[in-house]
């Protein structure tokens, strides 16, 4: 019986309108959603356990109001949930979450931990790798396909130069790309049943260990700098080529 833990994060709906006012980020819609990469990680764990048998536990570290996102994970099909409740409105960084999760996982038994490769709000892409380091687990990132063979995970990952196949022993950790599947939409039946699934609630303050600290500070939000308008050249192609080659040489130092 394979046991997956899938880490979920609640993120602002990045497709809803956002504004930046006085260095603060304002979400016009206030909508919070399940991080799409985590949804893919959960989908793949569900597919594998549906095929081979096993259990999926969804773990979410986030404030009280994030429990709705954990419930979405249960509605999709996770068997049970763990909510590590953090303080409302605090700007924690990737190391903090990795430390928190590492403290939670320290005494747990499992075959694999699966995370999204990054989250849609900050796109940092650090928590999964940091968690593997803290737990001293073998890991693979940016998975685009997972296969299970005798409790080993064959990870197809998108590398810089092409796709790589990595065999991951258990226990191990994998971070997932959203390219590997189309996460299921929770059915109404799943939503109703999710209420009855067990959820363990743990206060973040009760967890102790290395790394439960933020090492970066959020100073504020700024609009992206406006792009300088491009230059337009017109005329005889031969002369244009000479002009542009000259500019690439003198201005951009590319020649």
């Amino acid at each position: 019986m394979i046991h997956f833990y899938v880490c979920l994060k609640q993120v602002p709906d990045v497709y809803a309108p956002l504004q930046i006012k006085d260095g603060e980020l304002i979400q016009d819609s206030g909508r919070m959603v399940l991080n799409a990469y985590d949804a893919s990680a959960l989908e793949e764990a569900l597919v594998l356990t549906e095929k081979h048998g096993g259990k999926v536990t969804a773990v979410l570290a986030g404030p009280e109001k994030a429990k709705e996102t954990l419930r979405k994970g249960l509605a999709m099909g996770a068997d049970e949930g763990v909510h590590i409740v953090t303080e409302e409105g605090s700007a924690y960084d990737s190391l903090y979450y990795a430390g928190l999760l590492a403290a939670f996982f320290r005494d747990k038994e499992y075959h694999f931990i699966s995370c999204g490769k990054q989250s849609q709000d900050t796109d940092a892409g650090l928590t999964g790798s940091m968690l593997a380091q803290l737990l001293e687990l073998p890991y693979a990132t940016n998975a685009v396909g997972l296969t299970l063979e005798d409790n080993r995970l064959l990870v197809k990952r998108q590398g810089d130069h092409g796709q790589e196949m990595i065999e991951l022993p258990s226990p191990g950790l994998v971070t997932c790309s959203n390219d590997m599947n189309e996460p299921r939409i929770p059915s109404l039946k799943g939503i109703m049943q999710s209420k009855k699934k067990p959820v363990e609630t743990i206060q973040a303050s009760s967890l102790t260990g290395d790394g439960i600290r933020s090492v970066t500070t959020l100073l504020g939000y700024e609009e992206k700098p406006k792009r300088e308008p491009g230059q337009k050249f017109e005329g005889d192609p031969e002369e244009l080529a000479i002009t542009i080659a000259g500019l690439l040489d003198s201005k951009e130092n590319l020649m």
């Binding site: 206030g30 509605a75 939409i185 929770p186 939503i191």
Partner: protein, 400 residues
């Protein structure tokens, strides 16, 4: 200035008042509608085509007859949740919402309320899963707002009834496996006829369901007639106890409630698209949105949408608490669809030439809402229902 932000599509934050169950159901419906229905809506409207695979997709997610008892394939969702589903589906297209409303409110609802245990078990689970499709026959070629004058009739015979007559403007009729049909029934030739409900199944001899052609509205859903020529309907397919117009009116009341919510979705779509359009489109060197006329048009739209949201949300709560009255439903259906139609027409205007192109999807909402304003009790008939409540005097039958 306020420390809170102003929510541009839910200004009075009604979504934050929803229960967790209802909000999660809304999210599922939204995700499904935006990812699976929206990509098919342009083709559906332009080519006048309903993709029948939608029935099973909606069924798998539990979007059909969501309020029905889980014993019969529903999930026992709240009335508010049912309304929220209608809003999300109609945000894409009134035709898709019509399909969903008919299946849920006009077919599954009457079977679950008026049907025998055997009828419930025979039909409801397959209707919930989308394996079979249902339709509802009340309106006739010569009897729309005045269904009491219907001429479709049923005469008792050995082991069943003989049905004759025709129904018109029936959503889902050409694709339906079962039709809930209301007809004037007589046990014997001398009896006074009384309206009763029949479950007419595809393939019964003498029963046909021709397609209604040349529709310029609700083109993404299927519409047709129901024609009965000496159709034998066995006793097992008749609702045992319900008599009179109360039966169909209870169904319509449930569907109209969903329509009041659906109109919110269609209006929100038109408003949000118009807002983006006037922000993006520049004329005379400035975005259209920098002008006073587009701004007040958007302000009017958002004000109306907010009142529509408040009505639908409150009505859902009243229904969930069992405190609703049919006049409340008339008020919300009339107001919300009337306003949605106005909003869609203004949105068409704001989109200029692009407003008439199917690509922008505004024109589909305009022409769809023309139907929605008419079906399930016209705008004016709902005014008369309210008028009767307000004055105590019915004005349906002219006294001239």
């Amino acid at each position: 200035m306020s420390t809170h932000s102003f929510h541009l599509s839910d200004p009075y934050l009604f979504e934050s008042e929803l229960s967790e169950d209802d909000r999660m159901i809304m999210e599922t419906a939204r995700e499904y509608a935006q990812t699976k229905l929206e990509p098919r809506a342009l083709k559906g409207n332009q080519e006048e085509m309903f993709d029948i695979s939608m029935a099973k997709e909606m069924g798998e997610l539990g979007l059909l007859g969501a309020t029905i008892d889980p014993k019969y394939g529903g999930v026992g969702a709240s009335q508010t949740a049912y309304g929220l589903v209608a809003r999300e589906v109609e945000r894409v297209d009134s035709g898709y919402r019509s399909f969903m409303s008919v299946q849920s409110s006009l077919v599954m609802y009457p079977i679950s309320i008026f049907g025998t245990e055997e009828q419930k078990e025979r039909f409801l689970p397959r209707l919930a899963s989308g394996d079979i499709i249902g339709c509802f026959g009340l309106t006739e070629p010569d009897h729309g707002s005045d269904p009491g004058s219907m001429t479709t009739n049923a005469q008792k015979t050995d082991g069943g009834w003989i049905l004759n007559g025709a129904k018109m403007w029936i959503t889902n009729s050409p694709i339906a496996d079962v039709a809930v049909v209301w007809a004037k029934a007589k046990e014997s030739k001398e009896d006074k006829p009384v309206i009763r409900g029949f479950l007419v199944e595809k393939g019964m001899p003498g029963f046909t369901a021709p397609v209604t052609k040349h529709k310029m509205s609700l083109r993404a859903s299927s519409t047709g007639e129901l024609v009965f020529e000496d159709v034998f309907v066995p006793d097992a397919n008749v609702f045992p106890d319900i008599r009179g117009l109360k039966g169909p009116f209870m169904c319509l009341n449930s569907a109209r409630y969903g329509i009041a919510w659906g109109a919110v979705g269609a209006a929100e779509f038109c408003y949000e698209k118009s807002r983006q359009y006037v922000l993006d489109r520049k004329q005379f060197g400035h975005p259209l949105a920098a002008n006073q006329l587009p701004q007040t048009k958007l302000a009017d739209m958002l004000t109306d949408i907010t009142t529509m949201q408040m009505l639908a949300w409150r009505l859902g709560k009243l229904k969930d608490d069992g405190r609703d009255h049919h006049a409340m439903v008339s008020l919300a259906k009339r107001h919300n669809v009337g306003k949605a139609l106005q909003i869609a027409r203004v949105a068409r205007d704001m989109h200029g030439g692009n407003g008439i192109s199917g690509e922008y999807r505004i024109i589909h909402h305009v022409v769809n809402l023309e139907s929605v304003n008419t079906y399930e009790g016209t705008y004016d008939i709902h005014g008369l229902i309210l008028g009767r409540e307000i004055t105590g005097i019915q004005a349906f039958v002219p006294k001239g």
